[in-house]
Amino acid sequence: MRGGKAATACIALLVFSAGPAAADYGGEVAQEGVQTSVTNAGLDRAKHGLDIWTGAADKRTFAYASVYACPYNNPGGSAKDVLCAGAIQGCAGNTPEQGQGPLVRLYRRELDASGNPMGGWMDICTSCFPDLVPGKPVLGLGQILAAFHNTPWAKPTAHIQPKGNVTLVTLATYFEVNWPTAGFQPGEIDTVTLLGTPVRIRPTVQGYTYVFGDGTNFGPTPSAGGAYPDGDITHVYAKAGIYTTHIDITYGGEFSIAGGAWLPIPDSVTVAGSLQPLTVKTANARLVTG
């Protein structure tokens, strides 16, 4: 179910009539139904005391609670509300309108006229809008993705051999990734605070793209190159000239909430590397006596 639609149900069960025999695993699963998480519209209804599904006035009063949709998480439980891969993957790939998660499980319990609970927590649905659930807001992936995008990324520079950024036509020139001290490079942890919760973001490498400045590129590749003679990223220039080279990086990342397990961030950011001029000269053979 997409955000913005008038959600009236969290589980829609599709029942199909029998047709010609066909396999198609996904099609066979579709016969059993589609499970959708409650939309932001439904959550907004709950916040205003209306029925979460129909929007009808509801004389009852409820308390709401939510937890990440992970094993062992329960409202009111003594255990910390931990995040798990399933809650991330349950909404991964969604647009902001669909809700980017993490997937949360929403509970409610009815209150009497004095505000005392009349029963236990009841599991009512899941949602990919954790920041909109009634009750205590749960940190959403959208906020984590925003923090990921705001990371002060380290810009790689190209270490080039031969030394001095001068090479020769037809000579194999070696490229290697070098890191400046500024910014966060792969493996370096950036810590931010979101909704009062410490969130660690650890950049990872999805790939490097080597831009040689003569109209040719190599990558994306996971290789950070290397020095002569073992480096695996080399380039041979055909013509003399001054070329502007750079190594661009596509960062992935992992995050950890409140010291919890590291989980993959379902997004990437490409950062252009610092420009490095490279002079390519022509070598002239000369006979020398002596």
Binding site: A9, G27, V34, Q35, G76, C84, G90
Partner: protein, 183 residues
């Protein structure tokens, strides 16, 4: 391939009016949702790995992974009767998977490669003492149904699927209660 099935009915259901009950912070007990008592499958698969029998979230994840291993065997060998012992009789998708395996055997057809590749299996949490939801991100591969001569009958499209498995613990092992596409 497109599913040549016509939708005939749309039912909506949710837990909004479930009966009240006590919540618990104990493991595998997160919801008081009223459910039917566990029903052992007619004949539980004796080959379910020990890890997939554990009454834990990790055991549930291992069980779903095993289910897909068996599905791939059922449609490529092919082999009938190996999926039903993994599912509750009410599991519609599972019954359809088994029906396909049975048809492949009877017609002398098979799939020319594994129909499903697992990307991610992750427990989402328990909805009652003996139930747990498990997320499965899988790929329905582009595979063909062929006969003994290699003639192709149908070819399935490649699709990414995000599935919600509802598992039931029968006291001996996990069992698939339902499988739904997550949207």
């Amino acid at each position: 391939m497109a599913v040549p099935l016509a939708a005939s009915m749309l039912l909506a259901a949710c837990g909004g009016d479930a009966k009240p009950g006590a919540s618990s912070s104990s493991t595998l007990t997160s919801s008081p949702t009223t459910t039917a008592p566990p029903t052992a499958s007619p004949s539980t698969d004796p080959n379910i790995p020990v890890a997939a029998r554990a009454h834990t979230p990790a055991g549930a994840e291992a069980f779903v992974r095993y289910f897909f291993e068996r599905l791939n065997v059922a449609w490529t060998a092919p082999s009938a009767g190996i999926l039903s012992p993994l599912c509750q009789p009410s599991a519609i998708a599972c019954a359809a998977n088994e029906k396909t395996a049975t048809r492949l055997v009877s017609e002398g057809h098979r799939y020319d490669g594994n129909p499903v590749t697992v990307k991610v299996i992750a427990a989402l949490g328990s909805t009652s003492t003996n139930r747990i939801a498990v997320l499965a991100n899988v790929v329905q591969e582009r595979r063909s149904e062929i006969d003994a001569t290699g003639k192709t009958y149908v070819t399935d499209d490649r699709k990414d699927l995000r599935l919600n498995f509802e598992l039931l613990y029968t006291g001996q092992a996990w069992s698939v209660a339902s499988t739904k596409i997550m949207k």
